[in-house]
Subunit: 310 residues, 2 copies
């Protein structure tokens, strides 16, 4: 059901990153596709099933990437898509959602407020609410990344996964635990948006009042209980990283790998930078999950200073 343009993405060693990181690093690249993130793996499943069941419309809340992906998947299937997003989301993500013919509604608040508004739209219009990380298709879509990692006959011992709502972490994590149980599954979240990580460590939902991170794609305040339940089963650890490390990760991926990434996609490198001893000598896969950046911000991040240490 998933368009092949989103599957079998590049997986390769990036030796140029390794001297600065002290471990072997492979990249799973999810940005070389029409929506520049992994999210379409899930929305392709969602939209296929919706259309098969006769649906004509759907609505989702999005930090920007899910909305873009659902708009892409919906457009090619004749499904009317409404995306509710924060007006503070990166302008390029909002622009692309509109360019893909979705109806875009902005809320004057953050992603969790957009979730509330999307639910209200779904009730009012009587259409399907697509809930990222809660709807199993969004996790199953992300899980195909895990299948591809396992198919590659992994020589790696660790996979680093950006943690937001939890679709990618639970999807990929589930596959690793089932098919490659020796691989350590480590989720990475910004210190400025730590709700799910804190929840994982305390084994109960912990919410925060606000978020404060450049990693807009993973900035949630209210973990979904069912997703936390799954994450408790499949994640071996969840770590928090500083903003400076995320920026260093963005810069290192440009300087040494020639990759443009959005902040969420640099969380894995940030985690290595902050835990050199833990990863020393290991072979780590980091999933580069998106590249939708506002250019002004991106130029600030890459221009601020030479690559340093956190």
């Amino acid at each position: 059901m998933i368009d092949p343009t989103f599957l079998d993405t590049p997986l390769y060693r990036c030796e140029a990153l390794e001297p600065d990181l002290g471990c072997s690093v492979s990249i799973k690249l999810e940005t070389a596709n029409p929506v520049r993130s992994f999210k379409a793996r899930g929305t392709e499943l969602v939209a296929s099933l919706l259309v098969d069941n006769g649906a004509r419309a759907a609505v989702c809340a999005s930090a920007g990437n899910l909305g873009q992906a659902l708009a892409w998947s919906g457009r090619r299937r004749g499904l009317d898509v409404t995306v509710v997003a924060s007006r503070f989301a990166p302008a390029t993500k909002l622009h692309r959602i509109r360019a893909l013919d979705a109806r875009l509604e902005l809320v004057d608040g953050d992603f969790d407020l957009a979730r509330e508004r999307a639910a209200a739209v779904a009730r009012h219009d009587g259409i399907r609410l697509v809930e990222d990380s809660l709807d199993i298709e969004t996790c199953e879509g992300a899980a195909t990344i895990g299948l591809e990692l396992v198919d590659a006959a992994p020589s790696f011992d660790t996979v680093l996964i950006a943690l937001g709502g939890g679709a990618m972490a639970t999807g990929v994590g589930h596959v690793m635990k089932a098919l490659a149980p020796d691989v350590e599954v480590i989720c990475v979240q910004p210190l400025g948006a730590p709700a799910m990580t804190r929840s994982w460590h305390q084994r109960r939902v912990v919410t925060t009042e606000s978020t404060n991170t450049i990693a807009d794609g993973v900035a949630g305040r209210r973990p979904i209980p069912a997703v936390l339940d799954d994450l408790l089963v499949v994640a071996d650890d969840a770590v928090l990283v500083q903003e400076a490390s995320i920026i260093n990760g963005i810069r290192m991926l440009l300087d040494h790998a020639g990759l443009v990434v959005e902040p969420s996609a640099a969380l894995g490198i940030a985690a290595i930078l902050e835990n050199r001893d833990r990863f020393a000598g290991r072979h780590v896969v980091t999933i580069v999950c998106g590249s939708n950046v506002d250019l002004d911000a991106y130029h600030r991040w890459i221009g601020a200073a030479p690559t340093g240490r956190p």
Copy 2:
């Protein structure tokens, strides 16, 4: 014989580029691999055959990418690789060649001088001289890009190929003419390094005294006669583009596609920018063939001015 990490590379529509270009644009991305260019498709063949025949060493001249690729392919097969390059080649290319355990010899001149020196090394050491574009394996390796384009059930009508020595143009061009003859094969070269393009138009080898372009990967002065013969059979056209257009192409690929490219990889976009009427309404594939850039130069190119017109 080719390591799968270099095969089945991403091919996808990039709608965000299209409003500025006036045509449909798909990208064939050859940068998401361990050597960040398409060259390893060929060196994998070269090195496999050499090792099968009992060779222990090889030497090549390189503008930087072939040397990196041959070093990678040789290292994993226990083949001693010597690369001769211009000392004016991008520092990052030279650094990566050394990092991949090749012996690097620098000449105080350009690529064509490096070719002469590599031939002398081969004679002196009695080892195989790998000649990019002349050795059929280098063209066959590049031709696998064409096979993947054809396998994708192409909806495109034009393929734009960076033209340097001619390995990619003849390899991909041959496949297109054989298997998708309706697709127009257009080679693109910088005005500052026009020897092969002029040769193609005049149907005889034309050399130049010097080159003057940022597109270091395609900057040759002396076309190889046998390669020109092949190019005359498989190319539908060869066009020259200005430096300003190459820089605009680099910038557009960053701004709208989130891709870091070296100048040679922006030649296709440059060609569209300079020939809008010709490509209007068409569906063009451009092969993004490499991303090995010196960061200082790259920052100059992307920072110079907002995306404009040539």
